[in-house]
Symmetry: C2
Subunit: 433 residues, 2 copies
Amino acid sequence: MNTGHHEASWRLPESDPYAHVDLKHYVRLARTAELGTFDSLFLADGPQLWGNLAQRPAGALEPLTLLTALATATEHIGLIATASTSYNSPYNLARKLASLDIISGGRAGWNIVTTAGAEAARNFGLSEEPPHAERYTRAAEFLDVALKLWDSWEDDAIVADKAAGVWGDDGKIHPPRHQGTYFSVAGALNVPRTPQGYPLLAQAGSSEDGKAFAARYAEAVFTAQQTIENAQAFYADLKSRTSRTGRDPGHIKVLPGIVPVLGSTEAEARAAEQVLEDHIVYDHGVARLESLLQLPSGTLELDAQLPDDLPPESAVEGAKSRYTLVVELARRERLTVRQLIGRLGGGRGHLTFAGTPEQVADQIETWFTRGAADGFNIMPAVLPSGLDAFVEHVVPLLRARGLFRNEYGPRQTLRERYGLPRPVNQYLSPSFV
Amino acid sequence: MNTGHHEASWRLPESDPYAHVDLKHYVRLARTAELGTFDSLFLADGPQLWGNLAQRPAGALEPLTLLTALATATEHIGLIATASTSYNSPYNLARKLASLDIISGGRAGWNIVTTAGAEAARNFGLSEEPPHAERYTRAAEFLDVALKLWDSWEDDAIVADKAAGVWGDDGKIHPPRHQGTYFSVAGALNVPRTPQGYPLLAQAGSSEDGKAFAARYAEAVFTAQQTIENAQAFYADLKSRTSRTGRDPGHIKVLPGIVPVLGSTEAEARAAEQVLEDHIVYDHGVARLESLLQLPSGTLELDAQLPDDLPPESAVEGAKSRYTLVVELARRERLTVRQLIGRLGGGRGHLTFAGTPEQVADQIETWFTRGAADGFNIMPAVLPSGLDAFVEHVVPLLRARGLFRNEYGPRQTLRERYGLPRPVNQYLSPSFV
């Protein structure tokens, strides 16, 4: 969000460099997305100040706070906030997400992240980030605690018998009394069970640990894929992993990111893309690429290809799958560092696609009908104009082809809109003793 | 808030027993408070499920989340959220409060609490609450870290030079690099400096530790006082302590809570109060009073006075000043346990006052003009009707007497409305090397 997913978007004449801290900007985007009958708004996040201020807008409104403000400015759209299992307490986060689900009438989602990087760790009392696998072990326990807390009130725990002076039924409260490796949480939650039972669970890690976690918990998965073949393989793998955990593979929705750059002709779209590339400050791009690839500063040369001797993904801590995607992209297309930065500048690994509305609609249709995606995370290169253009020109094509809804149905929760069932309370299920 | 500050208010025919989880209820209250040109809305909080569900509405929307939703539904009113220094990380809480300050245009406030009680501790990995003094030591370090984070961006750190491709000035970012007893936080915050610099700092503990903390940090102090003499002594003590820390005593506002029960005649007001008392379930009241006084269950008898051999405040962990207030109230007025529960049922220690609008206005004027208060926390026994009545009948009297504003001035921050200066950034002050 903010001025767009292209790193240089803030430099365009149309862009407001303060947009990322302006509620009005986000309200406008959210309302446009509702005009386009989008399922949801998704905000990424990390609890640290990224990179240098010089290079691009930094600092932002905290996602749960911002989405709560947007809840009252919108009616239908889902609100998916990123929050870290490494740097939150389950009780605090479960409360806030439950509160947002109630306030929004069942539109809350949680993008579960484990948060890579030492910068974040150092804001929370650690000197280095915990190892990748440990972060995921903690995440799994975090989820177990959060799910218990969200189920700690039965749906009908509130009796409201004024005459008898009995407000609630304490027999329908189930304190988790969780004692684990990372957390000890007595409970119960101090928020009643919410419209959705609990927020839609989303996830965005595509590493081995990430996919295993998604198969077990996630209902929506954000992913960066550069080719349809890779996307199909990822899709099939995730559905199969989900089946193997005993879940319905239809209950996990795979949502690749795409960065559309629209023009009324292909040439016009390419020109718009070129304008953006011309605004990239390559020195910053080199520094960021070195950081992603965990290389010493000064390793990369702008007009050379990546070094041959990069370590394998297994040796990398942090954003593992993004590492592999970037290295594969550079190798596959024999890109120089300069060209690679140009490609990444648009979507930092998400597929940038410059073209006409028909071409973008074609690509979406192809990926959707050929088992590469259940939906898409639309990440316009420039905002708000890129979202305006998508809603005005691409959405009608998708509707005409019968691929997308014409209007929102009667008041639905986010989970209902995704075609997912409301979760059964674990304390009521037959397996609970 | 919810159905009112009287514990039995939810049983009245007019009350909605689901009000505490209904955003519309809070929007209505907030807008009524804006009609009454109130300074701010204040939400108390504890991160645990209080008491038994049977006795009264439990569970609530998390205050920061709820107030953020209200930020977009209101224009002028301040939004003061309670949050705990014992059970939050400074980085997370500083971000959320900064985000709310930006979203609300400078209307955020933080009621700083250390959170008494083992119930809360057990939701955050502890088996018992930390000792009172230790909680305050941690709170002071929490504040120091939060203040550094809020100052970590200078006001003009954003340059937004599109032509040069320079968005921000990294020289105007000051990472706290804090290494302390309880926290280690590298920083900087990932939110720019906010309209108020940082949220208005409020506090509500009246113990010795609490008053020392307030003198050092607080700009507004909520307090429960049963007599004007006690209120005057508290007021004078707090102003004097504040002076002794080197601060301007005018920059700490003392705000006793009052629980008005209005009637068009005094008899009508008393009758309304009696209806509320008739709805109290005394068994629950006894259990709660035993818990507050830290007595074994079954100690108290409804129609006897409190035991003579209660321990002194210094021996009590938890809500120290509330303990003393309750014991003194019972002794001073020779109340039976039943009478004491009736008195506390209205405001749990805050002064309940049943009378005509003129009588309530007189009381407010007396306390205000005689050095007992800089303002008041109005806590109607029944909501929303009690707030409606206060705004309709008492506010006009206060305005006519020149004690209260007739309308909001031009767009002001909460701190401006309290007559407080915007904080100077500590990294720019002459004492910062």
